[in-house]
């Protein structure tokens, strides 16, 4: 084999390795790129993520089933927040989300029902005032219709307000909130 032929063969071998390297890089890079996008990356502003469910979403689906299996709703019961056979009312604790000199807003978690009454009781020293509104089912809880009143309703000074909820099946009172 002549020196020239040897050199040419070496060159071809180098070229082959270079091509193999390029192909390997592209395939490997493409694979890693695809993998990296299988996570929880956001799509672009207008794109829709059409990847199959991410691991976190699959995990949440299983956790949701575990939760359902544990809750009362996991069985095939129909809605009945208060068994008719029992005279004991369910104890609830309303949450006051807003208490100002002109309004009180509240809700009751753990029940979804119509027909209950929300009563805001305002106290300052020996003075007691009340305002009521109707409760109604909202999404997953019972909402008190916001209680609105004129700014002259409460005299100057610090008042406390507690909200009592009462229905045929449930009752309870919130923590007190203060109105300056």
């Amino acid at each position: 084999m002549s020196k020239n032929k040897k050199s040419s063969l070496k060159k071809h071998r180098n070229m082959k390795w270079a091509i193999v390297l390029v192909v390997a890089c592209i395939l490997g890079g493409g694979y890693l790129l695809a993998r990296s996008n299988k996570g929880n990356d956001r799509p672009g502003d207008t794109a829709v993520n059409l990847e199959s469910a991410a691991d976190a979403d699959k995990r949440e689906a299983e956790q949701n089933k575990e939760r359902l299996a544990k809750t009362k709703d996991g069985s095939d019961t129909t809605s009945n927040n208060n068994p008719a056979s029992s005279n004991q009312k369910k104890s609830v604790k309303p949450t006051v989300t807003e208490a100002t000199r002109t309004s009180v807003r509240a809700y009751v978690s753990g029940i979804f029902e119509e027909g209950g009454t929300c009563t805001a009781t305002f106290t300052k020293g020996s003075e007691t005032l009340t305002k009521t509104s109707a409760g109604f089912g909202n999404a997953s809880y019972t909402q008190c219709t916001p209680i609105n009143f004129d700014s002259s309703f409460l005299s100057a000074g610090k008042w406390s307000v507690a909200l009592t909820y009462s229905s045929a099946s449930s009752e309870g009172v919130s923590d007190a909130r203060y109105i300056e």
């Binding site: 890079g29 956001r42 199959s52 949440e60 689906a61 809605s79 978690s109 979804f112």
Partner: protein, 534 residues
């Protein structure tokens, strides 16, 4: 030498290829969501949440197919839930449909429908984005990604009527019933907001968990949709929930609104469009405002909203839709006048059953009509029939008749006339001619070039009044000065400038840089009024 060059080229090529390989191999994780980005008061823009046209029924189906490529139909049963299981992409239901009501303005037809079709139909009927509905189905019951969902997940698909610690209300059982009830409820939150705890443009307290001992914080509700999400699920994520965005937090964590935000971002992109935070301040006088989702447009004059009653009135003022701003929460508190906005002065009208043409002279809420006495006068005044609004006869009849226009030599009140010798354009106003000193002032006053007529000698003989100024509500800034002002007319009829102090307020009032007239300082009033700030 040749071999060295070849090696160099080969080597350089390999470096480039290696760099490319490295680039494409690097995980593209820069866009992953982080819990500290959770925008408590702005979970999603209204124009995204209420965009019912975000997906077609086929696109919804394609999305559901993609999320669960293979359904585990024959998964082993558990807790009384036995195979075969049906995944959301394959689910269908026979529904009786719903007619339109005050909250869902469209009806939904009955029949056997796929889940994708139900989602689409409800989004169209109730004006809620199908993307938002898909995310709600996932956050409530994981239905989108579940490979073997139970019947009760469909029965309570959106969690509507399902309290945390009691059984669901059977009134709302069923996949369609659930999707429809949830969508309709979000419209209730918007259209009947005074009945609910969280309202757009207001601050309210949101707990971290049903347990009040876990605490909470006040949140300013920047969008209608955000207030709606907190009304639907009245909890916000605590820091533990946000620190582990794709997992669980602690005993005080709640996940509903966190998961809505996270899932929407991961599946459909940002919950924030090219929008802005609506400013917490009133639009200045002279502004046109409109409540989101409602058709009524109002002009604010002296702190009162005047309803623009029809398109003719709107057009007569030279308004354009790009000038109609999204009403802020304080705007919505402004009183609404019992009278609607009148036509603009100088508008030509005739009743739809009589030929008489009138030119109107108007105040904010009423006009008097001046009869154009003849065709000769009509032509001599440079009037054109295409400029005559044909309106209800009763409306014309209700206007007080005042003068009869007979002049063929002098243009009437509110005419625009061009002095051909000086090139100046004047507005005829209460017996005087007032120069319009710049193109910007002309445009800001919504004047029309095709209404400019050649001045007569009688017009030019009129005494010269003050120059026409920028009108109330116009946005101006001086050349080379970034400070933007709104023109305001004082009670005394003089003009002043009001500085908009922050770029965020400017954007929050839905102004755009192109709305601002850039002029010389002589065009901007020297008197300064109250700043516009939040």
């Amino acid at each position: 030498m040749k071999s060295f060059r070849l090696k160099s080229i080969l080597g350089f090529g390999l470096v480039i290829v290696a760099a490319f390989c490295l680039f494409v191999s690097l995980p593209n994780k820069t866009s992953a969501l982080s819990g500290n980005e959770f925008p408590r008061g702005h979970i999603i823009d209204d124009n995204i949440f209420f965009n019912s046209n975000a997906m077609s029924a086929q696109e919804i189906q394609t999305f559901l197919n993609a999320k669960v490529p293979t359904c585990d139909t024959n998964h082993a049963g558990s807790g009384g839930n036995n195979p075969p299981f049906t995944c959301l992409k394959d689910y269908s239901e026979s529904i009786s449909g719903r007619s339109a009501d005050a909250y869902c303005g469209g009806s939904v037809g009955g029949g056997s429908k796929s889940a994708a079709q139900i989602i689409y139909d409800v989004s169209q009927a109730c004006g809620i984005s199908p993307r938002a509905l898909i995310v709600i189905l996932q956050k409530e019951q994981s239905l989108v990604t579940d490979t073997w969902p139970w019947n009760i997940q469909y029965r309570s698909a959106t969690g509507y009527g399902c309290p945390d610690t009691a059984a669901c209300d059977s009134t709302y059982y069923g996949f369609f019933n659930q999707v429809y009830s949830a969508a309709r409820q979000f419209q209730r939150y918007y259209k009947q907001s005074s009945s609910f705890n969280h309202r757009h443009g207001e601050t309210s307290f949101v707990q971290y968990n049903p347990n009040s001992g876990c605490g909470g914080s006040n949140i300013y509700m920047e969008t209608v949709a955000t207030a709606g999400l907190y009304n639907y699920t009245p909890y916000q994520p605590n820091s533990a929930a946000l620190n582990n965005l794709y997992g669980t937090g602690d005993s005080c964590s709640a996940y509903g609104n966190r998961n809505f935000w996270r899932l929407f971002n991961d599946w459909f992109g940002s919950t924030r469009g090219d929008s802005f935070t609506i400013a917490n301040t009133v639009h200045p006088d002279g502004s046109l405002v409109k409540n989101f989702g409602e058709p009524e447009v109002y002009l604010i004059v002296a702190g009162t909203r005047y309803h623009v009653p029809d398109i003719d009135t709107f057009n007569s003022h030279g308004f354009s839709w790009s000038q109609v701003r999204m009403a802020t929460a304080p705007d919505k508190q402004l009183p609404i006048s019992g009278s609607t906005l009148a036509f603009r002065g100088g508008t030509l009208v005739r009743g739809d059953s009589t030929p008489q043409v009138y030119s109107l002279r108007c105040m904010v809420t009423f006009c008097v009509k001046d009869h154009v006495s003849s065709l000769n006068v009509f032509i001599a005044q440079g009037m054109a029939f295409m400029d005559v609004y044909v309106i209800a006869q009763s409306r014309v009849d209700s206007m007080t008749s005042d003068q009869t226009i007979t002049s063929t030599t002098a243009h009437i009140q509110d005419s625009l006339v061009l002095d051909t010798s000086s090139g100046k354009v004047y507005r005829i106003d209460t017996g005087s001619k007032r120069w319009i000193p710049s193109l910007e002032v002309f445009a800001a006053n919504h004047f029309f070039w095709n209404r400019v007529k050649t001045a007569t000698s009688s017009d030019l003989a009129l005494p010269t009044g003050s120059d026409v100024e920028f009108p109330e509500g116009a946005l101006v800034r001086e050349h080379g000065n970034p400070a933007v002002y709104v023109i305001n007319q004082t009670g005394g009829g003089t003009y002043e400038k009001r500085h908009i102090t922050a770029a965020s307020t400017f954007a929050g009032l839905s102004y755009k840089p192109s709305d601002v007239f850039v002029v010389g300082s002589s065009f901007i009033p020297t008197a300064t009024g109250a700043v516009i700030t939040e």
